[in-house]
Symmetry: C2
Subunit: 192 residues, 2 copies
DNA sequence: TTCAGCGCGTAGACACTGTCTACTCAATCC
DNA sequence: GGATTGAGTAGACAGTGTCTACGCGCTGAA
């Protein structure tokens, strides 16, 4: 489907997704999006009351994309540990290959404005994470806490690695050891 | 020392620190800082070539503050596990009580511009983290990887908790369980 | 003592941003 | 067929960061 075939609302979001994917968050202004969609800068207002609303719609597409990749990466696998590893790798890959989108998705003002609807965007993914953790550590404490700590660990690796902090601090050029260390810490060392 | 006694360069940074502490990152514009420092909007340019340079100087003060708090919290303690717990708590406390500053310190554009000088700001703290981790897990793999994963875990908890994501996902109103889960995961369960 | 040089702050312009309001204009409906 | 309405246009407005020309007081050398 061509961009021109969509109604403006969908087109604006699509333009935004493309823009943030190709050029990052910096040029993601209301006026630039309108320009690339071929409409005047006032047009988006008919569909998104404010710039933040449009950005939220774009970020939501990022969460959908992430969820889709997670589903794709885990389908066919049954071993919980394997599924969890695949999930973690998808998360880190996403942060690395779609930097701009990842940055947008976790922008403070977006998250805090409540427009993103975390219930729809990240909670489903977190639920499967919790299930897998519960399956791997059945006798332990509240799996939501364990899953939360694991999620935080992965997210932290994704962020700090993206900024180069971890690369600098650990002196390695590969995220893989950090990924393995995080998973091992939370799930116990992997079986060989 | 009164603000008026400092030269403008130091005054601008101090005004910025106060401003971001009291009102967050949103009003932290070049012109607003100049206004509160009682000078014209062009004055900062004599001391900071660009807005980002001024923000970096402000953020650097945040890193210094964090390091000072970490030193204060660990002094007098000798047990590595205790020191590590105190360190972690300082990190989470800082993120919670100085939200605006924490947000500024880890702004993408600041970190990526290279102006912050991670070598001076975060590496010293990371070095002590690595030492403590090495002391607690002497026989294991590269302590820098382990310490990196732990740091990432703490940072992730700080971020996701601040955004409310973890509160929502885990269903608790207290970070403490997440802190303990993170430490236990990376260091083994605490001795009783 | 005078005067050039300079450090440092002022004032205004510029291009850009997000928001708001008045307007056009085609499609729809009674 | 004329009124209504939805959707996009065009321009104004206040705010932003940056840049440039200007001024003013201090310093140091002749």
């Amino acid at each position: 489907m061509n961009d021109q075939d969509m109604d403006l609302k969908a087109r604006l979001v699509q333009v935004g997704v493309d823009l943030v994917t190709e050029e990052g968050t910096q040029p993601l202004t209301l006026r630039e999006i309108a320009r690339r969609a071929g409409v005047s800068h006032g047009a988006p207002r008919r569909h998104f009351p404010t710039h933040l609303d449009l950005l939220s719609a774009i970020a939501r597409r990022g969460f959908e994309d992430l969820a889709a990749r997670a589903a794709e990466a885990t389908e066919g696998r049954t071993d919980p540990r394997e599924r969890l590893t695949a999930l973690a790798r998808v998360y880190l890959d996403f942060a690395r290959t779609r930097r701009g989108m990842f940055e947008l998705m976790f922008r403070h003002d977006l998250l805090e404005s409540g427009r993103l609807g975390l219930r729809d965007t990240s909670l489903p993914l977190f639920a499967t994470l919790t299930e897998l953790v519960a399956a791997l550590r059945p006798d332990d404490q509240d799996p939501r806490i364990l899953a939360g700590a694991l999620w935080a660990g992965l997210h932290g690796v994704a962020q700090l690695w993206g900024w180069g902090s971890l690369r600098l601090a650990t002196g390695t050029d590969d995220v893989e050891p950090l990924l393995r260390a995080t998973l091992d810490a939370h799930l116990g060392p992997a079986a060989r």
